[in-house]
């Protein structure tokens, strides 16, 4: 039982053209920086990327967009990215927009063996087009199906070679649900620790969901909106 691999290049072995990937993160927070770089280097194309956002022009998934490696984005919000806008308007890039809560729940459902569920989100909007509508407790809901991915790529704070993960702060976001949903799940972490160092009672992602893990390097952790207050003196 050793899921440890050397680096991002080793971790992404088997990711091929036209596959579907899930990538954790919210904005630029909690994104698998090392694996994104390795995917750029590997040059795989035609990817479908399920990710809440699409990065910015020169960071995060924006790096894959620049190289036109992404055929389709499945996201809830894709602003802050000119190249994205350009490719979408020219039709080079297909975009499937999903309400954020439904996106999270559909990833989770994919990992949890729940093929479909009803949610009120999106009822009466274009999101409901073509979807079954059913009333529960007098309120209309729409049927949403689970999402699946060939590979899920998540970023955690610490992890061990059994694949157990903990996340730091809101960098957790979509990572735990996506970790559950990948046929193969790759975790990059800031620090690899020995099995037993993580308290079993406080593990965010149990190792069963993770197939490969490595310690990343050179995390930039870019901040999109640096907002601060002044110290009262």
């Amino acid at each position: 039982m050793n899921k440890l691999v050397a680096n991002a290049t080793a971790a992404i072995t088997g990711i091929e053209d036209n596959m579907t990937l899930m990538l954790g993160g919210f904005g630029l927070c909690g994104i698998p920086e090392n694996c994104i770089t390795a995917l750029v280097e590997a040059g795989v194309t035609g990817l479908t990327c399920i990710s809440n956002n699409a990065g910015v022009d020169d960071f995060g998934l924006g790096l894959l967009l620049q190289k036109k490696q992404i055929r389709k984005m499945v996201s809830s919000y894709v602003g802050e990215n000119d190249e994205f806008e350009r490719q979408m308007l020219t039709g080079e890039l297909e975009v499937d927009l999903i309400p954020q809560g439904s996106l999270a729940a559909r990833c989770y459902a994919g990992g949890a063996g729940i093929p479909a569920f009803y949610t009120p989100a999106g009822y009466g909007t274009e999101v409901a087009a073509g979807k079954e509508v059913r009333e529960f407790n007098g309120k209309p809901h729409i049927l949403e199906e689970a999402l699946a991915a060939d590979f899920a790529i998540v970023k955690a704070w610490k992890g061990d070679r059994f694949g157990n993960l903990i996340y730091n702060g809101p960098a957790r976001n979509f990572n735990p649900a996506m970790a559950m949903a990948g046929k193969i799940t790759i975790a990059e972490v800031e620090e690899i620790v020995e099995p037993g160092e993580l308290d079993p009672n406080f593990i965010h992602t149990p190792g069963v969901f993770v197939q490969r893990i490595f310690q990343g390097s050179n995390y930039e952790k870019r901040i999109e909106q640096r907002t601060v207050r002044q110290r009262e003196s």
Binding site: F26, G27, L28, E126, R172, I223, V228
Partner: protein
């Protein structure tokens, strides 16, 4: 007439002690600055925070600690962090007592449009559709009219909808209104604004009953 801060201050009067509150981007975010004295509310950020605090002191920003607007933030004592699935379980499960968000249009049946303008770059609905579909108590913060002076309080939304028959109350630069079976019900008018001015700026059905007090902020 209220400015953005005035709108935020008026909405802050809706807060009740012990409430969990989700504030959208824009004017709603400002509401956090005007929580009434003696009241404690807990702010939720849908990327996974309860107990969101002020911005960090300069030099203490942490890229892992952002809010749904991608701004660096802090967590107050008694706060908690969770993943996106749990965050929207809170929202969908109606555990949040107040949701404040902006809108491009609101219809007099409570429909809201705030995510998409046909022909323009669509950035996505983010968490807005989940919020409006589930929240019991949705207050919209918005300008009463657009830059051309056209009403944004309509009989029927012209833009693609975010949610259906979901808005409880609207606070604009001109007025406070509830959504009732018969349309917008005028509750308060902004200082210096007449009922006739509000009528003129409202395309949807507007019910005016009795004396309409001025907003006090």
């Amino acid at each position: 007439m209220l400015d953005k801060i005035g709108i935020a201050k008026r909405i802050a009067q809706e807060l009740r002690d012990g409430w969990y509150v989700n504030l959208g981007i824009g004017i709603p975010t400002l509401v956090a600055n005007y929580v009434p004295e003696g009241i404690k509310v807990i702010f939720q950020s849908e990327n996974g925070i309860l107990g969101m605090g002020p911005f960090p002191y300069e030099g203490e920003e942490d890229a892992d600690y952002i809010n749904a607007g991608k701004q660096t933030v802090t967590i107050l004592p008694g706060g908690s962090i969770f993943d996106s699935v749990t965050s929207f379980a809170m929202i969908r499960g109606q555990h949040i007592q107040l949701t404040v968000l902006g809108a491009m249009e609101v219809a007099d049946n409570g429909d809201i449009a705030n995510w998409k303008i046909p022909g323009k770059m669509v950035k996505g609905m983010g968490g807005a559709m989940d919020l409006v579909a589930s929240a019991d108590n949705i207050v919209v913060a918005m300008m009463h009219t657009n830059k051309r002076g056209d009403s944004k309080l309509l009989k029927k939304c012209t833009l693609p909808l975010t949610g259906v028959a979901c808005v409880s109350r609207v606070v604009t630069n001109l007025a406070v209104m509830d959504i009732c079976p018969d349309g917008f019900k005028l509750l308060e008018r902004a200082p210096g604004v007449s009922v006739d001015e509000i009528k003129a700026a409202t395309e949807g059905r507007l019910m005016v009953e009795g004396e309409i007090p001025e907003i006090r902020i």
